[in-house]
Amino acid sequence: MTDPQLRRTPLTGVHESLGATLTGFAGWLMPLRYGSETAEHTAVRAAAGLFDLSHMGEIMVTGPDAAAALDYALTGQPSALAPGRARYTMICAPDGGILDDLIVYRLADQEFLVVANAANTGVVLRALADRASGDVEVTDRTADYALIALQGPAAARILAQVTDADLSAVKYYASYPAAVAGHQVLLARTGYTGEDGFELFTRPQDAEAVWAALTAAGADHGLVPAGLAARDTLRLEAGMPLYGNELGPDLMPFDAGLGRVVRLDKPGDFVGRSALAKRADSEPVRELVGLVVQSRRVPRHGYSVLWDGAVVGQVTSGAPSPTLGRPIAMAYVDADVARQAREAGDAAPGRLAVDVRGSAEPAALVPLPFYHRPA
């Protein structure tokens, strides 16, 4: 039964007509899959997939002091972004714990679009408002946007059929206002799949038309609609963290191997600076690693990682990898064990394992990401 309290996106009707399996996700009714999630995953790797990401939070930060307010509120330095450029960044608590990971788009000199995870939009909105001072306005614009992602090696060819924008000029992590099928969108070259691709912010009333135009343009290119299940295995193969799994309030960006998002070199204070600076100077106690399980049993979130039979860490995300043909996982493990496992190399699976419901399944430690798109 579908919970009637769940929010519908401007595209939920389209998903229903496509026969999607819908699921509750962060308060929204979202497509989990349309048919086989494995087929959707492989289509994105080989051709392209179309995703509804309208649950993501859009927060607009505007005004003469917007750039300074974001420099203070976030770990990155949005003031250094040129208009039209974007950056992956984080917002931390004063103790350095991660409140969310974000993409910040500088749309104009005094206009920034902050895209937050659906489950954290309220937290991010409040934190940005609390941390803002001077002449700056922080507004939740989530309901004013639909967000459609077109991802995969065929994405640019498909999109080129329905827009006059010069896509070769749209760099990775850049955004442009553009017309797609006659509708005004903000077109960004970003994604969460490990493939080339675009994210299109549209007006809610234009979402169905843009979705339909992309579907028609992609018909001869192997484009399929893809749900959250495929999105999760795609991002896992690409080694991309998910808030609530690899990221959370008890973790700092350094734990996830993402210390680069903390710009300790930027001028001025920012929330979490002293805690993060202290952590940057200390030896890591744990490390986010990639595991490939040798059997076909799948490590899941929360399962223990074992070294010589002793618990040395926890799986944060795990799934059967359609690309590798084996179960894969990301896990936090003790830093010294990660080092020993790397040194042991091929011998590590004799000592490294995941406790899959009572049986120790041998695992190999591999560098992240599991998947690199072909150059």
């Binding site: 086989s36 999630e37 299940a229 049993r297």
Partner: protein, 131 residues
């Protein structure tokens, strides 16, 4: 709408049972495979294993989750579907046919119905609340 063939019996844990003589073929229902998503691995009880109705005797791994397989009847496993190992997707594409999982020699005398199984109508009613 998911398929619930009339001629089969069902469990509350979403297994189906086809009884022929003293042998029961067992699989998971169309409703179950749909809820699980793509099945990537099935751990079925080996031939010779004694199973007890209502107790877990194997696992089905899908992309998103893992679920126990519950023995629908008392008896001894006589045969396991070897095709599933190479092609677990058969559970999705043909759950009542090529996607069968294993066979059990029934403990009850031939011609006697094992207890506790649901009819197709009862199972349809059970899953109506979930769809």
């Amino acid at each position: 709408m998911t398929a619930v063939p009339d001629e089969l019996k069902y469990t509350r844990e979403h297994e189906w049972v086809a009884i022929t003589g003293s042998t029961a073929s067992v699989g998971i229902t169309d409703h179950a495979q749909h809820a699980l998503g793509d099945v990537v691995y099935v751990s079925a009880p080996a031939a010779g294993t004694k199973v007890t109705a209502g107790e877990p005797c194997g696992e089905v791994e899908s992309t998103k989750s893992v679920s126990d397989i519950f023995a629908p009847v008392d008896g001894e496993v006589t045969e396991v579907n070897a095709d599933i190992d190479d092609n677990p997707g058969l559970v999705n594409t043909d759950p009542y046919g090529a996607g069968w999982l294993f066979k059990i020699a029934l403990s009850v005398a031939e011609g006697e119905q094992p207890p506790g199984l649901l009819s197709a109508a009862e199972y349809t009613e059970l899953i109506a609340g979930e769809e």
